[in-house]
Symmetry: C2
Subunit: 287 residues, 2 copies
């Protein structure tokens, strides 16, 4: 049996009792460090949350060792993990909910093809926890992903999607780029993998990119006065949620990752009341 | 402090460790029986899941008594609950994630106005757990709600929304109507509240209503050959997920509540592979 277990968004206490039981009866436990930002090596920011978390999981909660499955392992050694699951219980731990990312769907597909039974233990993910800002989840349009622009690569297909959502009065969740353990182009050319330092997109960078694209397109899908909600560390004890215009949020220091951004559509009265609690005072730069 | 704690979708084991700790240190514990189907009095179906769940919570996990807050209590006595939270820790338990329903947003707004601190403990909700079928969450358009049709009330505003989503190739989550502890019209006229028996919409009823509206409108937003995914008891041990055409799913007995339905848009290869596992064989009526 392969258990794919969502850990939720905050720390080691966000696992469910069902998830904890599954871990405790598993012979092997893997934790993925791929799709989540909260990953090893982000120590350049003084952040080692996942590392601390998995130490805690290992020592206090689970009483057994955990293997960290990074990007390469999930993609290249999935069959080894699955082989173990044919004859014993294997737990695969995932930050958030198991189906927040395509990678895990792929793992399930492979498992089913090999005839391995799969049980999913759900948990909160960014996709539903953004509800905390008061905007109703059923009033969101298609979600967009904002990739880091480079000098030569500035894809802007998100623009039409945001435009469409806003024409319909719908909110748009923007998932912001995360680059963890990316092999550097240079190292790939030399035939020996070395990794770029990890990067995550901050709310301010996202807004700069959005406004750059708006300026190029000029179709008024949104402006610097469009109301948005910025989130940092959603679901953690020290989460930060701030509502304001794009221009205002540009000036807010959201601090450590993970960040995401919601572009607000038309609002109902109850939505408006909740947003007000998160709004910056006019002309005020900081929460 | 008011803790609003998501219980997740399955049973008493889906609470998180963080949620359990908050319950244990609270002086008063309420569980809402309003927005969730899994409610008292559904015993006409032999179902008393929430009742069992809350007995378990009460006895085994929490070691303290729980007050059931039904629809009237949440709407009429919210201020009493909040008053208690000004001077002590109060836990308010909600099936799924706290922000799946507007009611809880309203409770938070009221709390903040009274100066009561609020902490939210997130959990899985239908909005993200539907990811289990393999359709990527970021490829959903606006969510629609399907209300029970009556002889005189057959609202169909969901039709344009589904049509729009499908034109864009997006999936549509249909939330199906739940009627729990609704005062009967007759009893309201007599001035003494009596309640209708609880009802929940089955996948087959949802599809019948969808096809009726399609026949009236005739704009081919979808047809009886459109691929859908039906879900029953999502997130529970005995959940059922079946993919097939509307026509096929009409014949599937999904069993006990809660049901929901996804109308599938354009699919990517990985999505298609996962859906295949849930598909009915051609011309086969049953999973």
């Amino acid at each position: 049996m392969l258990y794919i277990i969502g850990l939720g968004l905050g720390d080691e206490k966000d696992i469910t009792l069902r998830g904890l039981e599954a871990v405790q009866k598993s012979q092997k436990v893997f934790i993925e460090a791929y799709t989540s930002l909260l990953s090893f090596g982000i120590s350049s920011d003084g952040l080692s949350t996942l590392k601390e978390m998995y130490n805690l999981l290992q020592e206090k909660l689970y009483g057994k060792s955990i293997t960290v499955a990074d990007r390469e392992m999930v993609e290249e050694k999935a069959d080894d993990i699955l082989l173990e699951a044919t004859s014993s219980d294997v737990a695969f731990l995932v930050v958030g909910d198991p189906f927040g990312a395509t990678t895990h769907t792929d793992l399930v597909v492979r498992a089913k093809k090999l005839g391995v039974d799969v049980k999913v233990v759900h948990n909160a993910s960014v996709m539903n926890a953004i509800g905390v800002c008061g905007l109703q989840l059923y009033r969101y349009g298609e979600t967009v992903s904002l990739p880091f622009f480079t000098d030569t690569w500035r894809p802007d297909s998100f623009y039409e999607k945001i435009q469409r959502n806003r024409k319909l009065g719908l909110h748009t969740l923007c998932l912001l780029d995360i680059r963890v353990k990316e092999p550097s182009l240079e190292s790939l050319c030399r035939g020996k993998k070395q990794y770029e330092p990890p990067r995550f997109m901050a709310v301010s960078v996202a807004i700069e990119q959005l406004l750059e694209v708006e300026q190029m397109r000029g179709e008024n899908a949104y402006t610097e006065d469009t109301t948005c909600v910025g989130f940092a560390r959603l679901g953690s004890e020290d989460q930060l949620v701030v509502a304001g215009s794009m221009k205002q949020l540009l000036e807010v220091d959201f601090g450590l990752p993970l960040h995401c951004l919601v572009i607000v559509g038309d609002t109902h009265p109850v939505e408006e009341e909740m947003l007000d609690f998160y709004k910056l005072a006019k002309n005020q730069g900081q929460a």
